[in-house]
């Protein structure tokens, strides 16, 4: 056989083998776990989305840097992410989740706002596997929307948000112990925001349960700028404790007006969502002394590391909401590794179901502040601390862990 013929024959024989090997490797490489972040990237709550995206990017980059997720058959899959804007608008949120579900995304982390989460969970299949229910079969693992009790709407909805009633019950009980002379509580609430409204009810119930007399609630709106009427009523009632169930913009306005009118309660309590950098930037020294129970503070080595990395490399802030994104990614990694998810284009529907079932079976996981317990209704019971605004930063006042 001539040399040229030998080369040609070898090529013909070897090429399919090489091609087959390459295809097989490529197929393994192509296996991806697609996770979509959904949150507010525009509008006045954009900061939530920015921080959640930064944390999502950090968590997935770390996992991908060490080879991605190890699937049950031994192959590895990279995490692919996107982050979609729901603008804190229910219609927008439903629209983006429908689009993601029509594509090959396996699971979503989000949304930001409770007023989006509530109707959004309503379009999911209520009971997993119910053939008579045509609702979306798409797992959602919420990081931010915090209004209590939402995950029970659908068996496809999961949340890893702090349980506010537990935290505020504990806080008011603790305040009663530390301030036995304090008798009365008054609450200021941003009445047109779902989370604030729900939180005001939680604060009131917690205060009553701890033995305080609740003198009433003063209401304002999310974009109000002047609070003299409401604060004037605080001034006249002279409550020992004032709770402010409002987001940073109006919280800052209210505490500023309190200072102006000389309203000085023994204790000032804030909304969980205000235990953020935003409050420090907006309120300045007027926030000094405010106490807020929060599901995140850089008090463990891992929490410190994550907060530092996200701040330095991803230009975001880790707070009680965005910290949950990091935890959710770790939980999803564990679920994908143990539940037989294949990560192929042909197995999207079954992979979604496996992720849902896997999430439902998680009873406990390691969070940034410690062990997080999962409840039967797909919510988390998270460790928390009481943070206090001191010297324009949040310091840990009490750590009950």
């Amino acid at each position: 056989m001539k040399r040229s013929t030998r080369v040609a024959l070898s090529t013909v024989l070897i090429a399919p083998l090489v091609a087959g090997l390459t295809w097989s490797q490529a197929a393994a490489q192509d296996r991806v776990i697609k996770i979509a972040g959904v949150g507010a990237m525009s509008g006045v709550v954009r900061t939530f989305g920015v921080n959640a995206k930064a944390t999502l990017d950090m968590a997935t980059d770390e996992i991908n840097a060490v080879g991605g997720i190890k699937l049950k058959d031994g192959s590895r899959a990279k995490i692919v992410t996107t982050y979609v804007d729901e603008r804190c608008n229910a219609e927008e949120g439903i629209s983006v989740i429908r689009k993601l579900a029509s594509e090959d995304w396996l699971v979503s982390i989000g949304p930001t706002c409770s007023n989006v989460a509530e109707p959004l969970f309503g379009i999911l299949q209520r009971k997993a596997g119910d053939a008579g229910d045509s609702g979306l079969q798409f797992p959602i693992f919420t990081d931010t929307a915090i209004k209590p009790g939402l995950a029970k709407i659908s068996e496809w909805s999961f949340r890893n948000v702090p349980h506010e009633p537990t935290m505020y019950n504990h806080l008011f009980k603790w305040l009663k112990e530390k301030n036995p002379d304090a008798k009365t509580v008054m609450i200021g609430v941003e009445s047109d925001f779902a989370h604030s409204n729900a939180n005001a009810g939680i604060m009131e119930a917690a205060a009553k349960a701890a033995g305080f007399e609740v003198l009433g609630q003063e209401k304002w709106l999310l974009n109000d700028t002047e609070f003299s009427t409401q604060v004037g009523k605080f001034r006249r009632a002279k409550p020992d404790i004032i709770g402010i169930a409002a987001h940073p913009f109006t919280t800052c306005g209210a505490v500023r007006e309190m200072k102006r009118q000389g309203v000085k309660p023994k204790v000032l309590v804030g909304l969980t969502s205000s235990a953020t950098l935003e409050t420090m930037v907006g309120c300045g020294p007027e926030a000094e002394g405010m106490i807020i129970p929060t599901g995140f503070a850089p008090v463990t080595p891992e929490a410190k590391r994550v907060a530092k990395t996200v701040a330095e490399k991803y230009k975001g802030n880790v707070d009680l909401h965005s910290a949950a994104v990091y935890e959710n990614i770790q939980v999803l990694k564990m679920v994908v590794e143990t539940s037989g998810v294949e990560g192929k284009p042909t197995t999207v529907a079954s992979d979604r179901r496996k992720i849902r079932d896997g999430l439902a079976q998680v009873k406990e996981f390691q969070g940034l502040l410690g062990k997080v317990q999962r409840t039967e209704d797909r919510e988390s019971t998270k460790p928390y601390v009481f943070a206090q605004a001191r010297n324009s930063d949040w310091a840990v006042l009490y750590d009950p862990r």
């Binding site: 509008g43 920015v50 700028t225 002047e226 003299s228 009427t229 004037g232 935003e278 930037v281 300045g284």
Partner: protein, 293 residues
Amino acid sequence: MSDLVLDVVQQALNGFLFGSSYALIGIGFTMIFGVMEKLNLAFGVTALGGAYAALLVFRLTHGPFLLVFLASVVAAGLIGLVVEVTCFRWMPRDYPLAALMATVGMLFFVEEIIVHATNGMPLAFPAPLGQLMFDVGPWLFRGDLGFMFLVSLGVMGGLWLLVYRTRLGLATRAVSQQPVAAQLCGIGLRRVNAAVFVLTGMVGGVAGALIGSAVGNLSPLLALPLTVKGLVTAVLGGLGSIPGAIVAGLLLGVVEYQALYFFGIGYRDMVTYLLLFAFLVFRPGGLFGSRAR
């Protein structure tokens, strides 16, 4: 004196003073309408944009409030000019809705720029008079709102001088009353329109800086309320009437504060819009405008 009387008077005082912020915004709406017979719904965000630009200057220089104030006035004047060019000059004149919708677009465009630049976070705005309070008998009097009231009176006086004592004012009135005749007399319509937008933008800058200072924070959340309250003020006062805007702004402030006190937050804005509705039905020309415009 009973608590009720004390509270009602305190509410009236607070409303009256806070109403000066509505008056300043209302002046901008009313002046542009007076000259062009068109609504500029981007005026509120022009004021806010000026205040944000001033905050940027403050952060870069840590200069005195006067510098912040002037920066707001200049920046808002420039934004006003951009609004005039993009939303009015470039729009087809035979389709009035185009300009109106362009200003709506500009409102949300500028608001979203602010959101993207700040991530929507409220930012502390310098407030040199922020904690100044006076005891007037049993009542409290906010120093910063009092200052805002005085400034709005000053702005009104300045505008009156400008409109009735300068050549630009004469040209503006001519364009406002007889645009074609004014052009035939050699008055440049574009130049007058641009001057009015710069001027009202500067008034917006005054309002933005003072409102930012009174609130103590800037947030994109302010864009829509400034627009709505400014528009309501201008309509109540009579579109085109500067004194009308001042009186209506103060009236609106008093009505809102009394409604808040007596009916609660859920009804405050309902009372405002009922008042607007009543004016539109019974006195469509507003307090100082002509009845049939």
